[in-house]
């Protein structure tokens, strides 16, 4: 994270999400601990965040997967794994209309500050199951961030 004043952070436009970028998301152990294959990414990793009516992720322009892990209440791989979603794949899916989402940069300027915070919006009552399934096909564990089963 940079040291500049959070109040000066701008909300960046869609064009700034480069194809090579990633979005990181923590996945709690109760969402994966009982399943047979940890290499598989499941749709329930992308349950809608109730508070923001979207899916909260961290943008790789500003943070690493380690930041996302360390921002969890329990920052260890036995409790949380970190998945990454490639921005280019998401954008292509949006453009070909197979994924009805928008990406909105949403820096959090009050503690705990997070310039990387981004919301995948458009997940609603009509398309929840479809979006979850599509995202599970795009996602993978971030490097060295696959969780550890105890």
């Amino acid at each position: 994270m940079d040291e500049e004043d959070p109040l000066s952070w701008d909300i960046e436009p869609y064009e700034n999400f480069l194809d090579s970028h990633f979005f990181y998301r923590a996945v709690h152990k109760y969402l994966w601990k009982n399943w047979p294959d940890l290499n598989t990414i499941y749709p329930n990793f992308f349950s809608l965040d109730q508070a923001i009516s979207g899916l909260s992720v961290d943008w790789s322009k500003y943070v690493t997967p380690e930041f996302t892990l360390n921002s969890r209440p329990a920052p260890d791989l036995t409790t949380n794994g970190i998945v990454e979603l490639n921005a280019g794949k998401i954008k292509r899916s949006i453009e070909d209309k197979s994924l009805p989402l928008t990406i909105r940069h949403d820096p959090i300027k009050k503690p705990p500050i997070n310039r990387a915070h981004t919301i995948l919006e458009g997940i609603g009552k009509l398309n929840k199951a479809k979006v979850k399934m599509k995202l599970s096909k795009i996602a993978q564990w971030a490097p060295k961030m696959m969780p550890i089963k105890e």
Binding site: H28, L31, N34, N44, A129, K132
Partner: protein
């Protein structure tokens, strides 16, 4: 027509059965259909029924359940309770054992989690939500197995809002059902058949309608 307590092994020569000639069909029809109707009309559904009231019947039913013809014969009468009874007791015992094992595995240390189990505001994973989900899953699987579809057991996954996902991912299709914690809310369904977008299924429907919709969709794509 023979009375049921007069059945003996000599009447039921499964080994010599040839479907084209249907030498056994009339006998089976005579034996099974009245029994099925009787069970259904009198709502006698407990294990003792076959074990005591129609003792010899149990042995033969077990044997016939391995015959494809048995399914064809019994299917028109076998809906609802009787279908589930036959599936559980005779037709797919191995599948049921496997299903029970899987559901036990999936629910372990998950069902009963209180609010905020992820320390991020998640909702409780309740036994009621689990029961709604697994009851629906059993109905779907029993219906499909009973109708001859060799469908695999899906994953049952919790969500942070207290709902459950039923998730099939096979080479032929992908299907995701999100069952809300409160079954008065709508069930979200999304399905795709690999390489055939015309079979895309995306609906929100009442819990009671889900079994019918899913079974019909499966019958179309499989």
């Amino acid at each position: 027509m023979k009375k049921t307590n007069e059945i003996d092994a000599g009447d039921l020569e499964l080994e010599s059965f040839q479907e084209e000639e249907k030498p056994l069909s009339n006998k089976l029809d005579e034996i099974f259909r009245p029994l099925v109707r009787k069970y259904y009309s009198e709502k006698i559904f407990h294990e003792k029924f076959i074990e005591t009231q129609y003792g010899p019947f149990s042995k033969y039913l077990d044997e016939y359940s391995k015959s494809p013809y048995f399914l064809k014969l019994i299917a028109p009468s076998g809906t609802g309770e009787i279908q589930n009874y036959l599936v559980e007791k005779f037709l797919f015992k191995d599948n049921i054992i496997k299903l029970d094992e899987k559901l036990r595995e999936y629910s372990e240390n998950i069902v009963g989690l209180p609010d905020n189990w992820d320390e991020e505001g998640s909702k409780a994973i309740t036994i009621e939500a689990w029961n709604h989900t697994t009851t629906l899953l059993r109905k779907i699987l029993y219906d499909l197995w009973y109708n001859g579809f060799d469908i695999s057991i899906p994953l049952v996954l919790p969500n942070t809002d207290g709902s459950f996902d039923i998730d099939w991912e096979t080479e032929e299709f992908q299907l995701l059902l999100t069952i809300p914690a409160n079954i008065k809310e709508l069930v979200h369904i999304y399905g795709e058949k690999s390489g055939q977008p015309e079979y895309e299924l995306e609906v929100r429907i009442n819990y009671e309608l889900v079994q019918g919709v899913i079974v019909e969709w499966m019958k179309k794509i499989l």
